[in-house]
């Protein structure tokens, strides 16, 4: 097995009396597509928040690329190569799709304190941004304001933004939620192509997509990881079947 890119050690978090993350330890090797599944309210989004730095952990450690990043904030983790999408779409509605992505390119290009020169006209930023848009199938919509895109297109845009930061690890919180059939097929296709470039940690309710994409799957129930294994192992794990998966979805 290759060295772990992401390692969670005994992560905990609670909101008041509610324990949302309960002693989660997990290791994701480089190059893996790892899916986290679990019923609504299991704490999946919270876990992604803790990994990305949006929400602090009660205790435990997050190691990324061999370094302890538990104390780092969202933007610092992003700079180290941790990109994420949000369950509730988060884009810049007043910017064109292209500018949304170009800003992510700008973020990794370093020099954002330039006070002169029209950023919207820089080929060095727009070129790579356009490539990302084309990759997710939004090339023809590059000039549309992000706020005016359809829900599914916004999900695709979020993926393009995350890709533009050239992440080592992509954290995706239900990238298929709310997408139409065609869009969802396309996103799955994109993710399939990405697996050679980056490691992916994915939350998704679409079981068909999860079982076809993931190298390994972890099952989160009430904040606890009850199982981690290959799709085949998960499919036949009785505890998982009992706790979460309906028989018809397992078929």
């Amino acid at each position: 097995m290759t060295k772990p890119l992401l390692e969670l050690r005994n992560l905990r978090k609670n909101y008041g009396a509610l324990i949302v993350t309960d002693d989660v330890s997990l290791s994701v090797p480089e190059g893996e597509v790892h899916a986290i599944i679990g019923p609504n309210g299991a704490g999946k989004t919270t876990l992604i928040h803790q990994i990305s730095g949006l929400a602090p952990s009660g205790s435990g450690q997050v190691l990324f690329d061999g370094q302890d990043i538990t104390g780092l904030r969202l933007h610092e983790r992003a700079r180290r190569g941790l990109a994420r999408s949000f369950q509730i779409t988060s884009v810049l509605p007043g910017f064109s799709a292209l500018e949304n992505v170009a800003l992510a390119v700008q973020a990794r290009s370093g020099s954002s304190y330039r006070l002169f020169g029209n950023a919207a006209r820089e080929p060095d930023l727009n070129g790579p941004a356009m490539e990302c848009l084309n990759l997710v199938g939004l090339g023809s919509r590059s000039h549309v304001l992000a706020g005016l895109l359809s829900h599914g297109e916004k999900r695709q845009l979020e993926l393009a933004i995350a890709l533009a930061t050239e992440p080592k690890l992509l954290l995706l919180d239900e990238p298929l939620a709310g997408t139409g059939h065609e869009e969802s097929r396309r996103v799955v296709e994109v993710l399939r192509r990405l697996r050679s470039r980056t490691t992916i940690l994915l939350i998704e309710h679409d079981m068909e997509a999860v079982f076809s994409l993931a190298d390994r799957i972890s099952v989160l129930v009430y904040g606890r990881l009850i199982a981690t294994g290959t799709p085949e192992q998960i499919r036949h794990n009785p505890e998982v079947r009992a706790a979460y998966l309906g028989e018809e979805e397992m078929a």
Binding site: P93, F95, L103, A107, F116, G127, N134, G139
Partner: protein
Amino acid sequence: MTDIARMQSASIVPPAPRIERVPLILFGALAIAPFLAALSGAEGYVLSLLCRVMIFGLAALSLDLILGYGALVSFGHAAFLGIGGYAVGILASHGMEDALVQIPVALAASGLFAAITGTISLRTKGVYFIMITLAFGQMLFFLATSLAAYGGDDGLTLPSRSLLAGTTILKNDRVFYGFCFICLLGVYVLAREIVSSRFGRVLRGAKENPTRMEAIGFHPFRFQLLAYVISGMMAGLAGVLLANQAEFISPSFMTWQRSGELIFMVVLGGLGSLHGAIVGAAAFLLLEEFLPEILHLASFMLSSDLQSRLVENWKMVFGPVLILIVLFVRGGIMGLVPGGRHD
């Protein structure tokens, strides 16, 4: 890149911005105004009024940079007018009367004050940010009232306008007008550059969705702080001009009401267009100046007693008029002008 990608990237550079009408008309009007003023028979009065318009336009524009593009509601912006003004007054009273000394000192002092207060206030959000900027503004106001050596409460009359490279040309009202015009135009062009630059784009992004910006690796705080410092320095320059225009400085430069008026000017003109702030300042000051006359004319059918009372209490009309504009004209005055907004 695939062929399709190449085809599309050919069209991704947006078309060159067309020359915008509103700023062109605005600055054109300000450029020819002194010539018309010379014909008006009240040149001194017209020039001085228009200088005030430009100076407050400059201050409002500096506020628009952080308010309209960064959603930072600074309720203490008049403090920078005060810093600029007192830089002139204090330096002049120690014999340093040249604008070439006073302006850099004013800019440095404004920038420093902005850096210190911004570092603290930008850690808060929303109403807390408004309150803490107000508090810093008030702090400076009370500091000024306690400067007994420089007039305390009463302020300080300047011996004359600042020198410019050792010459007294700013004493000429037309030259001073030109000086204000150049400052305003220069700052406007600079601000336009800034908002479309890489830096400005991050600032605008952080206004729309700070979490999104952090998720791609930006720390909005640093960008907002730099914007705050730049904005404060611009307002400091306006303070230098204001002291020269009034040939007087006093704590009244930086009352919280003044800060409120600046916010009002920006909202009145229309947030986030820069020239809107100048238009807002002009509308505000001209209304303030001419509303009594307008009321007098408009109320001709009333008895002369009622008429004079209405004119006396013109401020009772001024407030509601401003509020109505802000309420019913979305996007301020710029919202009325076709193509008045460019974002």
